[in-house]
Amino acid sequence: MSLPQYDYVIIGAGPAGMAAAVEARQHGLNVLVLDEQPAVGGQIYRNIEDLEGQRRDEFEKLGADYQEAFELAQRFRASGAEYRPGRSIWQIDPDLTLYHIGQDGGPSETCHAQRILIATGAMERPMPFPGWTLPGVLACTAADVLYKSSGLLPRGEIVLLGSGPLLLLIACRLLDAGVKIAAYLDTNPHLAPFQALPYLPKALRGHEYLRKGIAMLWQMFTSGAKVHLGVTGLEAEGEGHLQKVRFQQGSSTWKELPADLLLLHHGVVPNVQITRQLGCEHTWYEKQRYWEPVLDQWGNTSIENVAVAGDSGRVCGSANSVLTGQLAALETARALGKIDLAQQTALAAPLLKKQDQELAIRPFLDTLFPPRHPWLVPKNEETLVCRCEEVRVREIRDAVRLGALSPDRVKPMVRCGMGPCQARMCGLTVAEIIADERQVSPADVGYFRVRSPIKPVTLGQLTGVE
């Protein structure tokens, strides 16, 4: 059976994937873009074409970068790249054969690529606390997705918890849309701003971001929402769904708030499911406490002909994602003989210069918003860590004490990571708990071995039999 052949298969149609596809097409490559979502834009620019076309007022409020992203989406549409939305990768073989299924069922399909670009973006860092599985407790980006894709707005008593620029951004977007936020619980450690100070001079080169950040802080603090700083503990409670939150600041007494919705955000981490399944080398990024694939300046991984662009490498935001996508596509154009090294170097020079400017603020931001205890390892031993199999902190610690020193050893003992999400939600926390129990770094503990199928596939889809 002959497989459909492509020069370049790009996974993900967010900023990085779209930019890579446009660049690759300019050099005459035969490109396929597979994306899990029903529309282009990734998570950040979700539903962007529909927003631009059908919801003009709201689109204009989203800011100038959305206009740029819409233009990128238009260039992508016109690029001649084959684009298949709603397709999930469930396996990639070492010879770069890809297996993918449709969100609506239907048989699994297979194709082969000369080179692959993984541009699957980032996900919210899950940080467990008692009650985080109650209906009414959501990731803050979930509220953003509901707004952008369906126009749904939160209502009732709304509490936000966490830290970081994205939480502020989403909070301000809700405020702009007329949503009333009851309380904003900030979990950032008091010392973080001082620790970030040495990185401020360099960050000033990205002053546009700083200006935006200060404007957002101002909007939040003057919105009428009760702002509580230095929050170190949280519990969500309710019968069947969220009704109230209890929180603590340092060693103060617990306070209580009524709540219908609790929106969480503790930063984002790279989605490494595919790079892990392929066996790419990963390294621990201590500042933001996550694993990232080891990449060179073109996004090449440790596996030949496999590269990563955008936030599925290191989380650096959408503007950098576009640049990394273009750089990766130039590398592919050279590797496949469409351009030579001199042309690649010349074409990359302005992109690298822009990237240098773009990344100036990252050391400052990554130090200003550190993921830190007590949120990384829940103090309450009964907290559910693995949502799928309902495994608690205590059970993971017990397994470590019995000699299971890594996530893969703990997994068969207590089932954490064995449910449908395949450790996407618990992986980092399990590693942090094991590291905490052993008094070592998660870098020494390692991560789960991610195996195919990385998305659930039915036997019917595998065999093509209904």
């Binding site: 979502q37 980006t141 997705v145 369906s150 949502r387 309902e390």
Partner: protein
Amino acid sequence: MFQPPPNVAKTIQITFEGKTYQVAPGQTVAAALMGEGYLTLRNSVVSGETRAAFCMMGICFDCLLEINGQPNQQSCMIQVRDGMNIQRQLKKGECA
């Protein structure tokens, strides 16, 4: 919990737990149900506790529903279609 936008053409008919709803096209099943006031989408297969969509981007698998007879579908990833029949899944120990 979530307020749907006013003045949206609701051209799609779906059935959830035997009740029919007119919903707007171009959205996911989970979003459509949240717009109709449903937050809880399933019960945990381990403890039976109520669960709802958490991430809305295909990561958490907490929005699993039975859609057109096919169980364990990620309802935050699947677009609503006219005539879709959606069910909550059975709790552990319950039989059809």
